[in-house]
Symmetry: C2
Subunit: 321 residues, 2 copies
C-alpha cells in the first residue's frame, strides 16, 4: 500500500501522515510507503519509508515523483485557502482548479484507477438555497475558493465514472482547533480565538457570539479521511462527493467549552473587533448541514466542542504555553 | 455595439447572427460589428460589418482576433457535443473546460466587463435528484459533457461576481427541429426523426414513443439568447445560470405534431431500432424542468411542437425536399 499525501506539509496532512504510520495498514494491506508532498518541503515524519517531496501541483511535471504507477491511494489536501484565492484570483485558478485537474490526470495516467480522497469544502454552498444544506443541495459558492472546490468535485465524479480514478470527495467543515499560526483563510479566526488564548496570547474575534458555523476537529477529520479511503467503491454511488460530518456551533458555545475545559482565564484574552472583509466572506457560508451520506458510511462529527478543546490541549499545545 | 459569436458556424450561431443583423440593435445600441468565430470558417452572413474568423478557443492566442477591447457582447455557443465528449474525454476537457476558461479570460482581459451569454445544457442535471428540476437543483451530470458545462457555469458566475465579465448562463433544452445533418450528439435523433422524414428520408428512432424529453425550437432559442443578452445585470442576481424554458414532450407527441402539420406520410419513414449506447446517455437526462428564473426574465418556450415543425418547414426545409 503506497500512499501519496498532496498537501502533506499542512496541518491535516501531517496529522494524517502520523496517523497512517501509527495504523500501519489501509484498505486491508500493509502500508509500505507514504509520500508527503507540498509546495515547501514537508516536515519529516518518523517512520520507515516516509518520503518528503517538494511539489507544486500546478506544474504537471512535478507530480511525476509523487504519483507513480504503484501509488494506490492519493489524499489531495493541498489548496490555496479562501482568503488567498479571493485576493489572488489567478493563483486560485492555477492551483485549486488546474492543479487539481493535474492530480486527477496524473492518477489517471497510472492506469490503475487509484483511490483519490479529495478535500472539498462547505464553501461550495451559499447564497439563495434553502436550509438545511444536504448532500444534494445546489452548489452555489460565494467565493472563488468555493467555486474552484466545486469544479474539482465535478471533475472527481466524472473521472470516477470514466474509471480513471476511484474518487471520494468530502466537503470539510471548518477545522477547529487548528494548531499553528493564523493563515490567509477567512476562517482563520475560528481556530485562533481558542488557540491563541490557550497559548496565553490575545486573539481577535471579528464576529459576534451568536455567529453560527460548522466545525470539526483535526483529529476527527483525519479519522474521517482514512474512513473515506477505506469505503468500498460500490457503497459510494455515482456521485462521489458529500458533506463530511461536523457540528453546528455558535462562537459563544465554543468559548464556553474552552472555559469548561481550561477555566475562565483564556476567554478574557479575546478581543471583539469587527473586520468587514472577513465578515463579508464568512457570512456567505452555510452552517446548518445534514451530512446523511457520510454518516451512513460511518464518518462522524466530534461529540461536543469540549472534545475539540481537549484534542488541542493533548496533541497541539506548544510546550511553552 | 460590437458582438462576437463563438460557435458562429453552428446552427444556432448562424441563426443568431442573421437575427442580430435583421434586428440591427442590442442593449439599446446599434450593432456596428458581428464577428462569427468557429473552428472551421463560418458560412458568411449577408450584412455590413459581419466578419468570419477561424478560431479554436482551446488556444488562447487564437481568441485575440475575436475578443478585443471593443467587444461588448460575447455569445459563447461553441462546444464539443455530448457523444463526442464521451468518446474523446481529452477533447472535451480541452474545449469545453479549458476553451471556455480561455474565453472568460479573454473577456476579462478587455478590462470592460463585457456581457457573456453562455450556452449551458440540461445535461448538467441527472442522477439521484428529485423531480421537478428547478434552477436550484443540484448539478449532478451523468456525462463528461454535462460535467464540463457545469464547471463552465461555476466559472461564469464567479467571473461575474469578481466583475471580470457580465455573465448569463442558460441551460439549453435539446434543440428540435435542428436543421442540417445528424451530428455526434447523443440527442441527434431528437431532431432527425422529424427532419429526415420532412426531407423525404428515412430516420431511425432509438427510443420508444413514450420517451420524454425537454425541447426548444432553434428560432425560440435564438430569441431567448438575445433576451438573455438584453437583461439588466441587476435583474440577474449573484447566480448567473438558469434553465432556458422548453417543453416536455414524448416522442409520440412530436410525431403527432408533424402529422398534424404535414400529413401522415413523413411518420411512415421512421424506423424504430434500439441503440443501447445512445439510450444509456439520454436516459440519464432529465425532462421535467421548471425554468422559473428565465420565465420571470421574459424568456419563453414554444407554444406547442407543431410550431417547432412549422418553424423548420418555413426556415430550414431544403429546396429539394
Amino acid at each position: 500500500m503506497n500512499i501519496a499525501i498532496i498537501g502533506g506539509g499542512g496541518v491535516i496532512g501531517q496529522k494524517l501522515g502520523r496517523a497512517l504510520v501509527a495504523r500501519g495498514h489501509l484498505r486491508g494491506r500493509d502500508i509500505t510507503r507514504i509520500t508527503l508532498a507540498d509546495v515547501t518541503a514537508p516536515t519529516p515524519i518518523a517512520g520507515a519509508d516516509v518520503a518528503c517531496v517538494t511539489c507544486d501541483m500546478s506544474d504537471p511535471s512535478q507530480l511525476s515523483s509523487v504519483i507513480t504507477p504503484d501509488t494506490d491511494v492519493i489524499f489531495l489536501l493541498a489548496a490555496i485557502v479562501s482568503g488567498h484565492a479571493e485576493r489572488e484570483f489567478d493563483t486560485g485558478i492555477r492551483v485549486n482548479l488546474q492543479g487539481v485537474l493535474n492530480v486527477y490526470e496524473a492518477a489517471r495516467a497510472t492506469g490503475t484507477c487509484p483511490v483519490v480522497v479529495y478535500s472539498s469544502s462547505m464553501a461550495v454552498y451559499g447564497g439563495d438555497v434553502p436550509d438545511p444544506i444536504t448532500d444534494l443541495t445546489y452548489l452555489n459558492p460565494q467565493t472563488s475558493y468555493g467555486m474552484q472546490k466545486a469544479a474539482g468535485e465535478l471533475l472527481l465524479t466524472d473521472f470516477s465514472r470514466k474509471g480513471f480514478v476511484d474518487g471520494r470527495g468530502f466537503r470539510l467543515p471548518t477545522i477547529s482547533v487548528r494548531p499553528g499560526k493564523a493563515n490567509g483563510a477567512a476562517s482563520s479566526f475560528m481556530s485562533s480565538i481558542i488557540r491563541e488564548p490557550l497559548n496565553g496570547q490575545e486573539a481577535i474575534c471579528p464576529v459576534g457570539r451568536d455567529f453560527l458555523h460548522y466545525y470539526l476537529s483535526p483529529k476527527r477529520c483525519v479519522e474521517n479521511l482514512i474512513l473515506g479511503a477505506e469505503v468500498e467503491t460500490n457503497a459510494l454511488g455515482p456521485d462521489r462527493c458529500m458533506i463530511m460530518p461536523g457540528q453546528m456551533l455558535s462562537i459563544g458555545q465554543m468559548i464556553d467549552a474552552m472555559t469548561e475545559v481550561c477555566g475562565p482565564a483564556p476567554a478574557k484574552l479575546i478581543r471583539w473587533e469587527s473586520q468587514p472583509e472577513v465578515e463579508k466572506i464568512v457570512k456567505g457560508w452555510r452552517f446548518d448541514l445534514h451530512p446523511a451520506r457520510a454518516l451512513a458510511l460511518g464518518l462522524r462529527a466530534d461529540d461536543g466542542f469540549s472534545d475539540n478543546v481537549r484534542f488541542y490541549v493533548d496533541e497541539d499545545l506548544p510546550p511553552a504555553a
